[in-house]
Symmetry: C2
Subunit: 303 residues, 2 copies
C-alpha cells in the first residue's frame, strides 16, 4: 500500500482492514508525490501481487498490477463569500482545484454564478483528467482558458498547486483556501519566480559541466529528453552527464561536486520548488536552452 504524505496518517487503519480480510500487507514508507511516483521498485522487490495506491487516479499505464483508490474530500464552502471582494472587478473567472475537491466544483461554480460571475473551467493537458483539475505537471485547466477569463480562482489547500497555474498564466490569480480560511491574490509571485529563473540562467552562464537529472519514477522518467539535452550541451563543447535517482536527495546531488549546474528532466516542479536545495543553478530544460543560446551569443560577440 502506498499513500501520499497527507494520507500516510491513515495507513495503519487501512492495513489492519486488509489484513483482516486475509491479505499480507506492506506499507511503503517512501515519500510519494503522486501517481507518477508509484512504488513499483518496492513492490517488485517484495514480489507482491498488487500495489494499492491511495489518493490519486491513474497517471498512465504501467507494467504492474496497480489499484488506484482516489480520495475525495468535501470541505465546507463558507469561505467563498469572503473571496467576492477580491474578485469584484472581474466578470469572467476561471476555476481550478485539486483532485480532492473536483466533486465540489459544480457547487463552487453555482455560488459564483449566483453572485453575477461567468465561470469557465478549462481542460487539462492530459495527465490530469477532469476539467478544472490541476496537477504539479498539468496546469492546462488554467492555462488553456487564460485568454478567456478576467481572473483565475484556485480552490484548495497549499501553494504547490496554484503556484504552477500562476506561472503559466497572466491574469489576476486568487487563492481560496478552505483549510486556512484564507483568500489571497498571489500575482506578486509571478515576478519573484521570473527573477529567480533569470538569476539561475545568468549564474549558469559560466557553467562548463552539466548534470542532467533523470528520475526512474514511472511518470517522471524522460530518458529520451535527458539524452537529447546531453547531446545539445555537448554540441556547445561543454560536459554533460546523466544523473539518475528515484527521488533526488540533494545532499547526494551536491556531493557530485564536479558539476557546475544541474538540469531537471523529472517532475517539472523540481526546477521551480527545489532550487534552494542545491548551491548550484538547477535549471529547467527551457532555462538550459536559454543558457546555451546566451553562451553562443557571448561567443559570437567575442569574435
Amino acid at each position: 500500500m502506498q499513500f501520499p504524505e497527507g494520507l500516510k496518517q491513515h495507513a495503519l487503519e487501512y492495513a489492519v482492514q486488509l489484513e483482516k480480510e486475509g491479505n499480507e500487507v506492506f506499507i511503503s514508507a517512501s515519500p510519494n508525490f503522486g501517481a507518477c511516483d508509484l512504488a513499483i521498485d518496492e513492490a517488485r522487490n517484495l514480489k507482491v501481487e498488487k500495489l494499492i495506491h491511495f489518493g490519486h487516479g491513474e497517471f498512465h499505464k504501467v507494467d504492474f498490477n496497480v489499484q488506484y483508490i482516489e480520495f475525495y474530500m468535501d470541505v465546507p464552502l463558507d469561505i467563498l463569500p469572503s473571496s467576492l471582494e477580491l474578485l469584484k472587478d472581474y466578470k469572467t473567472i476561471g476555476l481550478v482545484t485539486t483532485i480532492q475537491h473536483v466533486r465540489q466544483l459544480e457547487k463552487i461554480k453555482e455560488f459564483y454564478e449566483a453572485n453575477g460571475k461567468t465561470v469557465v473551467m478549462g481542460k487539462p493537458y492530459g495527465f490530469a483528467k477532469v476539467p478544472g483539475q490541476i496537477l504539479g505537471c498539468d496546469i492546462g485547466s488554467a492555462a488553456s482558458i487564460d485568454s478567456k477569463v478576467d481572473a483565475h480562482v484556485y480552490f484548495g489547500g497549499g501553494m504547490f498547486h496554484p503556484l504552477g497555474a500562476l506561472l503559466a498564466t497572466k491574469k489576476p490569480f486568487v487563492v481560496v483556501d478552505p483549510f486556512e480560511t484564507r483568500t489571497e491574490q498571489i500575482d506578486r509571485y509571478r515576478e519573484i519566480y521570473r527573477k529567480r529563473s533569470r538569476g539561475k540562467v545568468l549564474s549558469a552562464l559560466e557553467a562548463k559541466k552539466f548534470g542532467i537529472l533523470l528520475s526512474t519514477k514511472n511518470g517522471q522518467n524522460n530518458t529520451e529528453l535527458a539524452k537529447i539535452l546531453k547531446q545539445k550541451i555537448e554540441k556547445s563543447d561543454l560536459n554533460a552527464e546523466i544523473l539518475v535517482a528515484n527521488t533526488f536527495d540533494f545532499n547526494s546531488v551536491d556531493n557530485l561536486m564536479e558539476f557546475d549546474s544541474f538540469v531537471n528532466t523529472a517532475c517539472p516542479r523540481i526546477a521551480i520548488d527545489d532550487t534552494d536545495r542545491t548551491s548550484k543553478p538547477l535549471l529547467s530544460s527551457d532555462e538550459l536552452m536559454e543558457v546555451l543560446r546566451m553562451k553562443e551569443e557571448l561567443k559570437q560577440s567575442y569574435k
Copy 2:
C-alpha cells in the same frame, strides 16, 4: 556507475573516461552506503548491461552484473607516534581500519611492534573480508579479539566506523585519525549510547503500534526477520505493520503518524545513528525484544 558519498566528487572524471571508450554512461545520484546498497533498481529501470560500483568490494552475490572497483588510499602515517602516549599503559592492542586503509595495516602493525606493543588483528564476521577490516554492520575484527587485548586502535577517518566497534567491545578504545590529525580515546561514548538505548526502550514501553522498517537494499533486506518481529509483536496483543523503503526518509516515516515506535531491520546502524531523525523511539530488534519482555513483566506485576 555508483559512488559512495566520499567518492562522488570524482564521478564525472570516471564517466568521461568510460564514454571515451565507447560506453553509454549513467551516474547514480542517490545516496550510497556501501556494497549492501547497490543501485540495482536504477540499473534495472535504465536497462543497463552493467553496474560499476566504486569504493567497496562485493558484499554478497546479487542477481545483476556488477563490477566492483575497490578504492584504497595510502595516507601518511606520521600521526602514529602521537598515539603512543594514549596507549602507554597497554601492552597488547587490537588494530582495525576501513577497507580504504587495509593495505596499510601491516606498516601500522610494524610501527606499534617497533614501539614494544603486541598487535592483534581479528577476523570479521563475514560481510567484511579482510582481518582488521570493519564495516558498519561487521565489527567482528574488533569484537572477536576483545578478550585478548588491553586496548583497541582504530586507524582511519570519521566516527561512523569506530563507534560500531566501540559499542561491541569493552576495552579502552583509541581513534587515530590521519585526516584530522587527531588521536583520542572515545570510551565515554559507550555510556552515552547505553543510556540512549535504555531511554528508547523505556519510552517505547507505552507503544501499542509498531512500524517495522524493512529496506529493499540488496544487502539490508531482512524480510524474514521483519515478519518474525511482526508476529512477536502481535503475540503481545500489539499492532505491527511492515514499512518498506529503499533509503528511509524520516520525514515520510514520521508522516506515518499512527505508529508509536519504529523497529529497524535494515542496516543495524540506523537504530544507533538515526534515532534523532524521528520523534518516536527507533528500536533495534534486540531493543524491541527488551521492550516486549518488560511489557510482559509489567502485565504480570499488575495481576
